[in-house]
């Protein structure tokens, strides 16, 4: 079942009436020195959704996750996970969630299998049940052969996969992944993304923080952009990008001398960007439809007798969205507040 949210994005929700997976209202979290890591956050995540929480270091992502996973108390405001209040019903929250925090906190002297069995015991599984679950999860994350080796010898990707398996021991309703692929190579990252998608397809709600735009685009049904503890934009990646403008077609002319005629021919098809004196043979046009506008552009240039070298379509990226809503690029941006968490 799919529902249209008030912000125009599509949420997948369970067919039975169920509470929001995450519900945050006016959440504030201060640290010593009145540093506000979270500053009046409101946020909803529907059951079955993958919610990408995007922001630079120190924006408040990790503090938010720590509040939602009962590791930190809010200074004010409320937060509910799977229908349970994180302060007043913390144990019920803990039963409903799986958590893989930013640093894969895994005892290097234990084996993967031992850790899974211990995690099973923490979640109330009995010996045989915990043993079976460990076998199944090691298989699921591709660590069966490494399961009896000490974790200290695992690669970063293996540790992350084990961390994910640990978070799944008790089949949680809501899975929190705090920057799950930071520091991983592209192969390990892709493998983890596949697993997250598979889990979500099985019905697990995923709350994912990331500072990687590609990760948010690849995984998230909806993205919330956080900056200085505030949610500054929210929606599907496509909707967020659409908000800040049309895709741009970059036309490389065969002959720079045709630039004037080309601009005149393309003007009716969209909004022309100002000519770049350094690249006289390039014309940039913002046009609705993106790649669908290529054919009319070629036709118009052909009719004007302009020879085309290449055409590239550039869609606005989430980084452009981030720049538009925060005034700075995501890459390299960092705030101090969340580091206090």
């Amino acid at each position: 079942m799919r529902l249209l949210s008030s912000t125009g994005s599509l949420w997948r929700v369970s067919s039975r009436a169920s509470p929001l997976a995450v519900e945050i209202r006016s959440l504030v979290r201060e640290f010593k020195g009145s540093i506000r890591a979270i500053d009046g956050l409101d946020l909803d995540v529907a059951p079955g959704e993958i919610y990408g929480f995007l922001g630079p270091n120190g924006a408040g992502k990790t503090t938010t996750v720590r509040v939602l996973t009962t590791l930190l108390r809010p200074t004010s405001g409320t937060a509910r996970v799977a229908g349970h209040d994180v302060v007043h019903d913390a144990d019920a929250v803990r039963r409903s969630i799986g958590v893989a925090l930013q640093e894969a906190a895994i005892d290097p002297l234990m084996t993967g299998r031992e850790l899974l069995r211990m995690q099973g015991a923490l979640h109330g599984l009995r010996g045989a049940e915990a043993k079976q679950r460990a076998v199944a999860l090691l298989d699921r994350v591709g660590l069966t052969e490494a399961g009896d080796r000490r974790v200290g010898g695992y690669s970063g990707g293996m540790r992350r996969r084990l961390d994910l398996a640990l978070a799944l021991v008790h089949r949680p309703d809501v899975l929190f992944l705090d920057e799950p692929t930071t520091g991983l190579d592209i192969t390990s990252r892709s493998a983890l993304w596949r697993e997250v998608r598979a889990l979500n397809a099985e019905g697990t709600t995923v709350f994912l923080t990331t500072q990687y735009l590609e990760e948010a685009e690849q995984l998230a049904d909806r993205v919330g952009i956080i900056a200085r503890g505030r949610l500054v934009a929210e929606g599907t990646p496509a909707a967020l990008k659409a908000k800040i403008g049309e895709p741009t077609l970059h036309v490389e002319l065969a002959d720079a001398a045709d630039a004037g005629r080309a601009r005149a021919a393309l003007a009716p098809l969209g909004t022309l960007e100002e000519a770049d004196e350094g690249e006289p043979a390039r014309v940039a046009l913002q046009a609705a439809g993106g790649s669908a506008a290529i054919a009319p552009v070629i036709l118009a240039l052909d009719e004007a007798g302009v020879a085309v070298g290449t055409i590239e379509v550039e869609s606005p990226s989430l980084d452009d969205v981030f720049l538009a809503v925060t005034g700075s690029k995501l890459e390299g941006a960092a705030y101090e507040a969340d580091e206090a968490a």
Binding site: L72, R94, L101, I106, E114, M118, L122
Partner: protein
């Protein structure tokens, strides 16, 4: 017994198993808990055995028989301190958050860690008794006395583990825990671990009267020697149990305070 209690019991068991098994996987962890007390036993038994000829020195079968209680209690102290160090490491490297985000009673997290300490202290005490036996110690008190000694060592380790855990929880600092290591020896030498209380200087004797380990060491000595005149086992048991209960409560309060402040 309610289901919740059984469940928490399994949690304590799982955390205790983890604490104990990890202990034997790293030489750095075995060194202070097993090797160091034996080294001190060897040095003291060979270097100061002439003390046995001093007037007021109790009549025991051998000098090593007299000082092995000190080694056992030293081992218990170090096992307890290791508990705090391991807990600080869990806090510093994030493993503690894994425990806190699980639906377990907060007290079980402390008890689980201390349950591992109990196992470690019992293994240590048994090991030290056997090694000392091989080197000439004799235990006229018999097997029962040796078993009670192991139990006393376990309670003592829990007591020290409790205070070490409280410090670890309060500070979350691994380096601080490592820096308090020398204080173990202050506790040890202000108890009559290797010399009879009567032969300590008056000041040290006064201090020893306030050190609960004094009564545990003397109780172990009395038990092993089969001579209640060397130490009252009941007073030793009361000291060890009192220490364990008080310090475990302190660690639990420290955790609750930490969580309230989070």
């Amino acid at each position: 017994m309610s289901l919740d209690l059984l469940r928490e019991g399994r949690v304590v068991g799982a955390l205790g198993r983890r604490g104990l098994s990890v202990q034997f996987r790293k030489a750095q962890l075995l060194m202070p808990t097993f090797v160091l007390p034996l080294m001190l036993l060897a040095v003291i038994s060979s270097g100061t055995s002439a003390a046995r000829d001093l007037p007021q020195f109790p009549d025991v079968t051998s000098y090593i028989t007299f000082i092995v209680p000190g080694t056992i209690i030293q081992g218990a102290l170090l096992a307890g301190l290791t508990t705090g160090t391991a807990l600080a490491s869990d806090i510093e490297f994030g493993f503690f958050d894994r425990l806190l985000s699980a639906p377990v009673h907060r007290t079980s997290i402390i008890l689980g860690r201390l349950f591992g300490t109990v196992g470690l202290a019992m293994l240590q005490a048994s090991f030290f008794l056997l090694v000392a036996l091989a080197f000439g110690a004799r235990y006229p008190g018999g097997v029962d006395a040796a078993l009670i000694t192991v139990v006393l060592a376990a309670f003592t380790a829990v007591g020290i583990g409790g205070i070490a855990s409280a410090i670890a929880i309060r500070t979350g600092s691994l380096s601080l825990m490592q820096s308090i290591f020398p204080f173990v020896f202050v506790l040890l030498f202000t108890a009559p671990a290797f010399f009879p209380r009567e032969l300590l200087t008056p000041v040290l004797r006064d201090v020893a009267a306030y050190n609960p380990l004094t009564y545990v060491v003397e109780a172990v000595r009395g038990l092993l020697a089969g001579d209640a005149g060397l130490g009252d086992p009941w007073i030793g048991l009361a000291s060890a149990v009192g220490l364990a209960v008080t310090m475990t409560a302190l660690a639990t309060f420290a955790l609750k305070a930490r969580l309230r402040a989070a």
